[in-house]
Symmetry: C2
Subunit: 365 residues, 2 copies
């Protein structure tokens, strides 16, 4: 990333364009603001795979233009006797607005019960799960989310046919006091994403081994022969992917192979599900740390032990995002390539807004 | 497993020997019964890596004979304002007794709040995490546990020196009504266990790629050159292993590199930590399943979709254990090899009990 040329776009300018694009699609002000804020957060942390451009592409393909997402939808909260749990019907509301709201409620329950969970049925893609748990972690909480990914593109271990989503997991931990940034563990359960296969194809490169299978279910490294993706770590990634499907099934999702595919199958549901969980760190603390350390000091000592002993080349999960955030901070804005600015300008035009003049933005250091 | 010759040992006879062995080491009746019951449960489900023989070896090396585990220890429950959370100081009590008790309390909290957690400081090895979550799953709950493994044998991703335990995760799901057995996802975060490296060495075989590193931190498939293990799935398994270390650090564990190594470092703690979590499935249900299905019927439909479409070769996680349990059921007892019976007889002799006569047991079908 460091060698590519980036321009510094003020966050307010970015948010104005993104908000306008969502408003134009019929989303309400709160939803449009949530979408803009979340995209800015992703770009601030260097998450180029889930920036505003991708968010709007996703809306085009699976969202408000194709029945997957309903602008201005209201969330219904189901009655429950379980005080540390909430169950929502999101009615296909915009994922970013839903996820922000769910995490807020999970935090409130964690403050009271030590732990809280929000299960969301009839959801729409929330983009980058790591962003929500990172946000909660920065506020001092342990946070977790998973969701079922839109399409069944992944073959179960020892299988032939894709019946699982790329089903990501995201965990965030409150390590800012200890090491300066929150540890965020956030990845899909496939070895690579389908977008990466396209990239390998364009670049004429081979895939990593064990990343994908051909039409016969045989492993292939040839991006031109890829029919479906594989889970990472063989049966272990398969198990992790299965968790999202089981959780979604318990919440209310139906068959993974028809998820986000709206034609053909009657009387089945096609929506993904979200699951959120937050834990208050005080609700786990035995308060008996060695050397009279505080909980945070103990965490610091443990993390330093892990990447000590000559393990200098190791990164802590979340460190790359923290480095990107530091660069954004230093440049006082969001960093976009020339190609990305062009795409933002296409979005701006669509909304009748003035386009950006690339040369008016400083080049990022 | 099917081709090896097994003898059918009645569970009561197994339990009598195991209980006596624990009583002889000073454990109280409740602890000794818990140890016997849990070992029987492991053997019933075909878990040969964590049967009673291994449990007692573990006690020899890290437990009551070497300060890691204290027979007849009392659990102290810390005062907490968080109603869905408990925090325990296990005072190095036997892991199996502690884990059974913790899971019971987590279930009681899940019944009330939808979710409950128990964090355990100053713990001792609980053997097979999958057993506790399987038990809870059979009773209708979603259950999760992780712990920090005894020794730091695993190198962090891109590192050279082992600073992480093999840190397992275990999830259990209430799928018995849907498919006949609980789905249990349960594995270490290293590619293989250190015991497996010894086995490869004995058998003169090569390790799988990416499973271990030599003294210079370079990947090796030669079991004779192995200095430490690797995490599965590169940075993804590393992240998962890191979770156990962070959770333990928040609870009260100290430096991973001195865990269960009692000499040399003053004023640090050397104990592992446990974390348990249980969720009531009703606390996640949106109650809006397609085709008028019940939650369990929906789960069944989703699981059948995943292993359908020609994916007949796929196993569901927990299926191997369920098959072993069916074989134990069919034979009406626990299945042990001749070598295992010999080891049980050594244990029996140590306790002054009559040894088993192998030829008196039926051969398993």
């Amino acid at each position: 990333m460091m060698s590519e040329k980036f321009y510094v776009v003020p966050e307010a300018e970015h948010n104005a364009v993104v908000q306008a694009a969502y408003l134009k699609r019929g989303f309400n002000l709160e939803e449009s603001q949530a979408a803009a804020k979340f995209s800015a957060y992703a770009s601030w942390h260097g998450i180029r795979t889930h920036n505003a451009i991708k968010a709007l592409h996703l809306d085009d393909h699976f969202g408000s233009k194709s029945n997957g997402c309903v602008p201005d939808a209201g969330i219904e909260k189901r009655e429950t006797k379980f005080a540390a749990s909430q169950i929502w019907n999101a009615n296909k509301k915009l994922g970013q607005a839903t996820a922000y709201a769910a995490m807020e409620e999970a935090i409130a329950m964690a403050d009271k019960y030590g732990i809280g969970q929000v299960s969301v049925d009839n959801a729409f893609h929330y983009l980058w799960g790591g962003g929500y748990v990172m946000d909660a972690a920065k506020r001092g909480y342990i946070a977790y989310t998973n969701c079922t990914a839109a399409l069944a593109e992944v073959v179960p271990f020892m299988g032939k046919h894709p019946t699982l989503g790329t089903n990501p997991h995201s965990w965030g931990f409150p390590t800012t006091e200890a090491i300066g940034f929150p540890i965020v563990i956030d990845w899909a359960t496939s070895v690579v994403a389908m977008g990466r296969v396209q990239q390998f194809k364009r670049e004429g490169q081979s895939l990593p081994p064990d990343a994908a299978v051909d039409a016969d279910g045989k492993m292939t490294t040839d991006p031109n022969k890829v029919a479906a993706l594989s889970t990472f770590g063989r049966h272990k990634g398969y198990g992790l992917s299965m968790i999202n499907e089981i959780v979604a099934a318990l919440i209310g999702g139906s068959l993974p192979t028809i998820r986000c595919r709206w034609e053909g199958v009657e009387n089945e549901k096609h929506t993904p599900a979200f699951y959120f969980q937050v834990i208050h760190p005080d609700a786990m603390s035995g308060n008996q740390f060695a050397q009279g350390r505080s909980q945070s000091e103990n965490l610091k000592a443990v993390l330093e032990d892990i990447v000590g002993h000559g393990n200098d080349a190791c990164l802590l999960p979340g460190q790359i995002e923290a480095n990107s955030a530091a660069r954004s901070q230093k440049n006082q804005g969001l960093l976009f390539s020339s190609a990305e600015i062009e795409e933002f300008n296409a979005i701006a035009k669509e909304c009748g807004l003035a386009v950006w003049d690339e040369s008016s933005f400083p080049v990022a250091v």
